[in-house]
């Protein structure tokens, strides 16, 4: 052993102590503000399509996926919540199986097998040691935790049986890998709990389950090697270790993917899969426009929130945006580059400001052949204010109020006005129409128009007794109303934990809203607060339910 001078050894110990105490002190100061939170029972979240794709790419590198994905279940406005309730149909299993075999074949093909952790001594005979190495290394990444001995044996056994039948080592390990990829431990996020050493009789998430929550929340993908290492070393059970991993992920490229995934879910962009526009009425609208429209809004969001460290509320007022030529045709705006994106601004006189005047919002919440102030108004409430508008009463005769061929009522406002005369309609329509009518200058795909059927369009509207006269006014009102930021916090937390908040989390939610306000409505900071909190990882036993007395969070 090398001799080390005593003085320098002491200095090192001193530095370590300072670090440790300093770190702890900081953590305690931060933690002391966080109120107790019960958490809820663990949940079983199915990987979404985006999570499946990202996880497979992170684990195996570039591979092509040939199967089809079942539609995500949207529950309480979020697919992240639906993923905790969705089962797995025979159709999906078939498709996962096709994809798994495709991936396994690609990574064991002659051109890629060099990247496997080992090569067999002799291709003729089954090399159990190498098979074990392959199964345990990919198994750990796929299951997001080390395999148990029994699991390793089972999958190595499958590889051996396959090798014997096919006479090929790579056919054998390929079979084992495809098995790992259709296992429930990969397709679902299976959370595990253990006794909490800091709380007698209490339970906590085990370190790997914490890593999984953290990783999918911040990057929408599977834990990387470093995060799995930290979990294995117990670092995620310390606030310092947890913060270090959270900060590392927030500064990684994956964070932008994570922020995009959240907004994709909140904005209901899965709806683009079903979006059709009548080609005769809207000839400029095609699948290229639809894809670019989705990307445009997400670009504006991540540029503003991450690159410019902007205030969330300004997303409803900013004129900064991004355009392609295909979008320029629908927006009737010139776009310089022939291909790719231009970072630009909506002109001041365009009537556009904020993401609700993006065609992603306008086109998604319209009919195939015309705009809909009602659907748009309802969507503003549901998407950005987290409010639920009751469905229409089933026995209403709509033809009285909305005859689109009636030339004496050329604009939607005039047609909708008739709703006010029927109390059953008015009670809900006054919640929706005043938030959608200000957007009537934009037709069913989002192109500007000053008149409808020759009549000038009145774009006045109101929200919470606050009146405005244009789309810009609506955006400013959304910016100013406190419900907008509370809704974002509510969605973000539900997205993070894959369920609705429970009553034992009320103080925590209030605290989180306060933190968001204090930070100047910075979304990355909000995500960091959640990712490094106790509340995010708190769990109760199944039988206690969400309404149990606080305890899990201590």
């Amino acid at each position: 052993m090398k001799r080390v001078p005593l003085a320098s050894l002491l200095a090192v110990i001193g530095a370590v102590l300072v670090c440790f105490v300093g770190g702890l002190g900081f953590a305690q100061a931060e933690r002391s503000e966080e109120p107790l939170s019960t958490g809820a029972p663990t949940n079983l979240r199915r990987l979404t399509e985006a999570q499946y794709r990202a996880s497979v790419n992170d684990i195996f590198g570039e591979v092509s996926l040939t199967g089809r994905f079942e539609r995500g279940l949207r529950q309480d406005r979020l697919i992240a919540v639906g993923a905790s309730q969705q089962g797995l149909s025979p159709f999906s299993f078939e498709q996962y199986d096709v994809m798994a075999r495709g991936v396994a074949a690609q990574i064991t093909a002659p051109d890629r097998r060099g990247a496997l952790p080992c090569a067999p001594q002799n291709v003729e005979r089954f090399d159990a040691a190498c098979a074990r190495m392959i199964v345990s290394s990919y198994g750990e990444r796929l299951f997001r935790r080390p395999l148990t001995n029994a699991e390793t044996q089972r999958y190595v056994g499958a590889a051996r049986a396959a090798h014997q039948r096919l006479g090929d080592f790579y056919g054998g390990v390929s079979a084992a890998i495809s098995g790992l990829m259709v296992a429930p431990e990969f397709l679902f996020r299976v959370e595990r709990t253990e006794a909490d050493p800091n709380l007698r009789g209490g339970i906590r998430l085990d370190a790997y389950s914490k890593a999984v929550r953290l990783s999918y929340f911040l990057t929408n993908s599977t834990p990387d090697d470093e995060l799995l290492r930290a979990a294995g070393a117990g670092e995620l059970h310390t606030s310092h270790g947890l913060a270090r991993q959270a900060d590392r992920l927030i500064s990684s490229d994956g964070f932008e993917t994570g922020v995009r995934a959240f907004f994709w879910d909140m904005l209901g962009f899965d709806g683009f899969a079903d979006l059709t526009k009548d080609a005769v009425i809207y000839p400029a609208f095609n699948s290229r426009v639809a894809a670019d429209a989705e990307e445009q809004t997400l670009r504006t969001i991540v540029t503003h929130l991450i690159r410019d460290d902007g205030d969330y509320r300004d997303l409803f007022t900013t004129r900064q945006t991004h355009l392609t030529r295909a979008l320029g045709i629908v927006y009737r705006l010139p776009v310089t580059p022939r291909t790719g994106w231009e970072t630009t601004e909506y002109p001041e006189d365009s009537g556009r400001a904020g993401i609700i005047t993006d065609i992603s919002f306008l086109a998604l919440h319209s009919h195939p052949g015309r705009s809909s102030p009602t659907i748009r108004g309802m969507s503003v409430r549901e998407v950005f204010l987290c409010q639920t508008v009751p469905p229409p009463p089933p026995d209403v005769d709509f033809s009285v109020v909305q005859d689109s061929s009636n030339t004496s009522l050329p604009t939607a406002r005039m047609r909708l006005q008739a709703h006010a005369t029927q109390p059953a309609c008015a009670s809900c329509h006054r919640l929706m129409d005043p938030l959608g009518l200000p957007l009537e200058n934009f037709d069913g795909v989002g192109t500007y128009r000053a008149r409808e059927n020759g009549a000038p369009i009145d774009t006045s509207g109101s929200i919470n007794n606050l009146n405005f006269t244009s789309a810009g006014g609506l955006g400013q009102a959304l910016h100013d109303t406190p419900q907008t930021s509370r809704c974002l916090v509510n969605n973000m937390y539900r997205y993070a934990v894959g369920r609705n908040a429970v009553s034992g989390e009320r103080d925590w939610m209030n605290y989180l809203n306060g933190r968001f306000e204090t930070s100047g409505y910075r979304v990355p900071e909000l995500m960091r607060t959640i990712a490094t909190s106790n509340a995010f990882y708190a769990v109760t036993a199944e039988s206690e339910g969400g309404d149990s007395t606080p305890g899990g969070g201590q």
């Binding site: 663990t42 079983l44 089809r68 079942e70 539609r71 529950q75 639906g82 309730q85 969705q86 089962g87 797995l88 149909s89 025979p90 159709f91 999906s92 299993f93 078939e94 199986d97 075999r101 029994a150 699991e151 089972r154 999958y155 056994g157 499958a158 049986a161 396959a162 039948r165 096919l166 056919g171 079979a175 495809s178 098995g179 259709v182 296992a183 429930p184 397709l187 679902f188 899969a273 079903d274 059709t276 009548d278 080609a279 009425i281 009919h367 195939p368 052949g369 015309r370 469905p391 229409p392 089933p394 026995d395 209403v396 005769d397 709509f398 033809s399 909305q402 005859d403 689109s404 199944e542």
Partner: protein, 443 residues
């Protein structure tokens, strides 16, 4: 023969080392009413399916005046004229809401299929097609096949809340799923079991080995979801087992040709075309025993069918169009109801065009066609139209107009389940609960 429990049999088969399930397997579970025999001497299987269209009917153009056999054919039923003796019309059966809010286009549809009205898509019970598939679908490659014709994967087939069995939307994809990889031509000259299929079997068995340990840590709801996962896994195991068996030869069967690419959209002509192609593929799949259960969605429950260049969909029309005073109904909406019944005629034609034994495939099917409401304008769930086609291999009396006079619509679901061999004598909840089958349907 001793009565055999299907689940026990399945467990036994899957638990044992040999997972080979031949054609005679099914016969154990048939009740012996099936009369049809193929030329090979094998009993022909009975198939079950649903055919759905959205936004109901135009009553004056749909509901026959006369009851019983040889009922009259109002304008919209013209497409089934040649099959009238094999199609029954069931009118006047009601969904009783029992205080559950009638969420337009959802509540009636799911109440008819599950026996329990719900205010949203969170079904309170499995849909009857799933219960029937549990009884008759096990011995085939696909437990059931779901199809949707308007470009979006609508499906009203649920095992549990939260995940409908998704539909195929593209005829090409449907073709590949049935007749692509894994399909065995029943009339091929020789048969060699594929070693790769055996490998896949052993891999799946490794995956399912850990079931108990996994279930142990889960809550009740999650255990149910994991059950669904393992049911899905088992279906794939069964598909593989069948691929290791030489398929029974099928008379007159020819593998269909791959369909060409065509637009998938909600525009009515595109939908009709997609439906026609899918119906043909389905008939071929049924003929060669790839599945015994299917669910076809012609249009979604809030029908998004459109005419090219029109700003308004079928659903919107049902609400916004004025009643034509001369006709007494909404003319534009009625157009789509008429087209829907034309498609139903095309579907029956496809089944009837396949020769089977001394009859046709239609004779060995039971197809329940229905909508989500009767009159879409008011979302009425009273008198949701139901049509039953086929003779279920001789188990069902067909070709009648049966009037429900306001009886719970669950009588239909109960009857078809019993006809298909599901061992139940009560079905539905609250005032929809019934033990009363529709006797006119039974032989």
């Amino acid at each position: 023969m001793a009565k055999m429990n299907r689940r026990a049999a399945l467990r036994g088969v899957l638990g044992g080392a040999a997972v080979s399930v031949g054609v005679p397997f099914l016969d154990v579970f048939l009740d012996g009413n099936g009369a049809a025999l193929a030329a090979t001497g094998q009993r022909l299987p009975v198939r079950f399916g649903t055919w759905f269209w959205g936004c109901g009917i135009t009553p004056s153009r749909f509901t026959p005046q006369m009851s019983g056999e040889r009922y009259d054919l109002p304008a919209d039923l013209a497409p089934i004229a040649v099959h009238r003796d094999k199609v029954s019309i069931l009118s006047g059966f009601n969904v009783n809401l029992d205080g559950v809010p009638n969420t337009p286009h959802i509540t009636g549809n799911l109440a008819l299929r599950t026996g329990v009205p719900v205010p949203n898509e969170n079904v309170a019970a499995a849909t009857f097609d799933v219960l029937i598939a549990d009884t008759i679908g096990a011995g085939t490659r696909f437990r059931s096949l779901e199809m949707s014709c308007l470009g979006a994967p609508h499906s009203y087939s649920y095992r549990t809340a939260g995940s409908p069995n998704p539909s195929e939307v593209s005829p090409v994809a449907l073709y590949q799923r049935i007749f692509g990889e894994g399909f065995q031509d029943p009339n091929a000259a020789s048969f060699t079991p594929d070693a790769r299929t055996m490998v896949r079997q052993s891999v799946l068995s490794a995956v399912s080995d850990d079931r108990r340990a996994l279930m142990h840590n889960l809550g009740v709801d999650d255990r149910q979801r994991m059950d669904e996962y393992f049911t899905s896994l088992r279906q794939l195991e069964q598909q593989l087992a069948l691929q290791l068996e030489p398929p029974a030869p099928i008379e007159n069967f020819q593998r269909p040709a791959m369909p060409g690419a065509a637009p998938l959209a909600s525009e009515i002509d595109a939908v009709a075309n997609t439906h026609r192609v899918m119906s043909g593929l389905l008939a071929a799949a049924l003929a060669c025993n790839q599945t015994r259960v299917f669910n076809m969605v012609f249009s979604d429950s809030a029908s998004s069918l459109r005419r090219h260049g029109d700003t308004t969909s079928h659903h919107q029309l049902t609400h916004e169009e004025l009643v034509n005073p001369e006709l007494g109904y909404q003319e534009q909406s009625a157009f789509f109801a008429t087209r829907s019944m034309e498609a139903w005629g095309v579907f029956i034609d496809a089944l009837a065009s396949v020769r089977e034994g001394d009859g046709t495939l239609l004779d060995n099917c039971l197809v329940v066609a229905h909508s989500d409401c009767s009159l879409a304008k008011t979302h009425a769930v009273e008198g949701i139209p139901v049509l039953i086609a086929g003779r279920a291999g001789g188990r069902v009396r067909s070709g009648r107009h049966i009037e429900g006079n306001g009886d719970p619509i669950t009588r239909i679901g109960l009857s078809v389940q019993q006809i298909m061999g599901v061992p139940i004598d009560q079905w539905g909840a609250n005032s929809m609960q019934t033990g009363q089958t529709i006797n006119e349907l039974f032989v």
